[in-house]
Subunit: 330 residues, 2 copies
DNA sequence: TTGTATGCGTTATCAT
DNA sequence: ATGATAACGCATACAA
């Protein structure tokens, strides 16, 4: 591997001058600049990022932590973040936490060791109190997931409003017996609590009581959705509509419902969340709540770069609009 | 950021001893080892990978180049590679080439600058002659995509056989008018040529002539599939079956066909490729050719690590079995 | 405008 | 069993 010294030697100049050329510094004569450029090309020289990082330079690399890329929502979110970052000259390091606290912390170490300039977390496993301790090494922000601390930079959606809108849509369609299916828990606190609140608010405003047996927690995949439907089938008193926290779960419910001879939305109305590609693939097509993934990526990068350029900047929180997409499943 | 010197100072020992503890070297007394461990914990010390890499160490990091992670096939392939790598103590750097030659080369520079120990390419944009020049910096292997050089380590599938099997399945179902839809070209050489060959062989063995107007090239997405179906609808002489190069395209075809009142498989039989989740989501469920993604990941990592441990090893090529999954669309 | 010398954090070599 | 020191490749303070 050719080093800066090799380039210096070949061009008959000093390492300093070569370094100046690499970094577009002024005070280099045009003649020598070309000499250096020529030598670099001849040797196929690439600056060694490790050495640069060690020297304390900016890495122009950002870390993005996601639970798992096989989840299409996160694949698209990463994609939009990466595209936006690329436009600004940043690389993106994709980190899969697999929802594991330890892994998440290991990725935060990237910041500590200057592998990345900043980290965008699309999901958060550890308490913020733990994450916060890494903040001294560089900016950390949340995109999609969030915590209840105002001083954390966040790009988030009004999940509560999204769930409220979705639930209301079901109520407007005349449903009273509404089941609820979440990827989190149905607690006051804890994962997915905003959606829970929005859902509860819509129902309570309509004077509908929530039936605990129609609450399904910790549901994520198509398989989970199928399982949920089978549970519903076994009930004497069945819901006429179901609100789900993801298009995948909603898709699973629809698939299994059809297999059991149910008609969607007549026998069971289903509403999803995310507006993933699957929403238009299932039959009937899925009514769902769209998350503006592209905007989220753009805004995250914009915010991150601002923080990098001006570390003393005041913390900003952005809330992006969420939208109900009515299709055929309701 | 705490450094090895800080740990040395706090524990009252030398950097060397600390380094020995970090790297599990022998010749360090139990007493001092514990002293070091305690100091490391107290300072929240993490070794700086940049310094290690600069020093010439193995990085225990592998690069994986994919066209784009929003393609579910690649998301799953990455996932399986990452899982296998993790078991062996390796990190994975995910690199999206977006099918761009320049980006691909930029990622290969990771090898040159010792950011990664080796690179697994799941797609290849540049000629192998170009890629090969990076080989001196570390092992490069292909997984999924391939080139016609024997001396390149590859984990591949018998795409020709897969296409042959799929086409034969359609023929056995009584079809004579079979369309073909590929993500590549329909050339002798060039992308997707193996599948082309397999398809052609099946048809020619059955004495069927291929109709050029039923050949669709460069088709990748659900939208592409919808477009293909619309083109078919405009034909006076329509095919009764279509072989596609991806489940997504097949899914698009089915969706659009239903929108236009066609019945699958009666009016048009459709066969996909990959056995992605979408194959079980569309209605009717998709007959497709399964690619053993998990095995591909496992085998890639196994091979890569062998090459890393024994650089003089002879080049190996593996061919994994490909399987026809018959569902309802044919 | 150009060059020399230093240090970033780590590990291997060579003492002791 | 432990420690001092050099070197990895680079960018900067300082000197010329």
């Amino acid at each position: 591997m050719a080093t800066i010294s090799d380039v210096a030697k070949l061009s008959g100049l000093s390492k300093t001058t070569v370094s100046r050329v690499i970094n577009n510094h002024p005070y280099v004569s045009e003649k020598k600049r070309e000499l250096v450029l020529k030598a670099m090309k001849e040797l196929g020289y690439t600056p060694n990022p490790s050495a640069r990082r060690l020297r304390g330079q900016l890495t122009t690399t950002l870390g993005v932590i996601v639970p798992r890329i096989v989840n299409p929502f996160f694949a698209h979110l990463i994609n939009s973040i990466e595209q936006a970052a690329y436009k600004k000259g940043y690389q993106v390091l994709i980190c899969q936490s697999y929802e594991d606290k330890q892994k998440e912390l290991a990725f935060l170490d990237l910041l500590k060791t200057k592998q990345v300039d900043g980290i965008i977390m699309t999901s958060i496993e550890n308490d913020w109190a733990v994450i916060e301790s890494y903040n001294e090494y560089g900016p950390i922000m949340l995109c999609n997931d969030y915590v209840n601390q105002k001083e954390v930079p966040m790009i988030r959606l009004d999940q509560s409003k999204g769930a409220y809108t979705g639930a209301n849509h079901l109520i407007e369609r005349g449903h009273q017996k509404i089941a609820y299916c979440t990827g989190g828990l149905f607690d006051e606190e804890g994962k997915g609590k905003d959606r829970n609140q929005g859902f509860q608010r819509a129902l309570s405003e309509a004077g509908i009581k929530i039936d605990p047996k129609w609450i399904f927690i910790d549901q994520h995949t198509i398989e989970d959705g199928k399982h949920v439907l089978r549970q519903i089938l076994e009930m004497k008193d069945r819901p006429t509509a179901i609100f789900t926290g993801s298009d995948e779960v909603a898709g699973g419910i629809i698939l299994e419902a059809k297999d059991h001879g149910l008609t969607i939305p007549n026998d069971l109305a289903v509403i999803g969340f995310d507006d993933q590609p699957i929403a238009e693939i299932v039959d009937p097509k899925l009514t769902t709540i769209r998350q503006p993934v592209d905007q989220m990526g753009e805004k995250s990068i914009e915010t991150m770069i601002q923080m990098l350029e001006n570390p003393e900047m005041e913390i900003k929180n952005y809330e992006l609009p969420i939208e109900l997409i009515v299709r055929q499943s309701t």
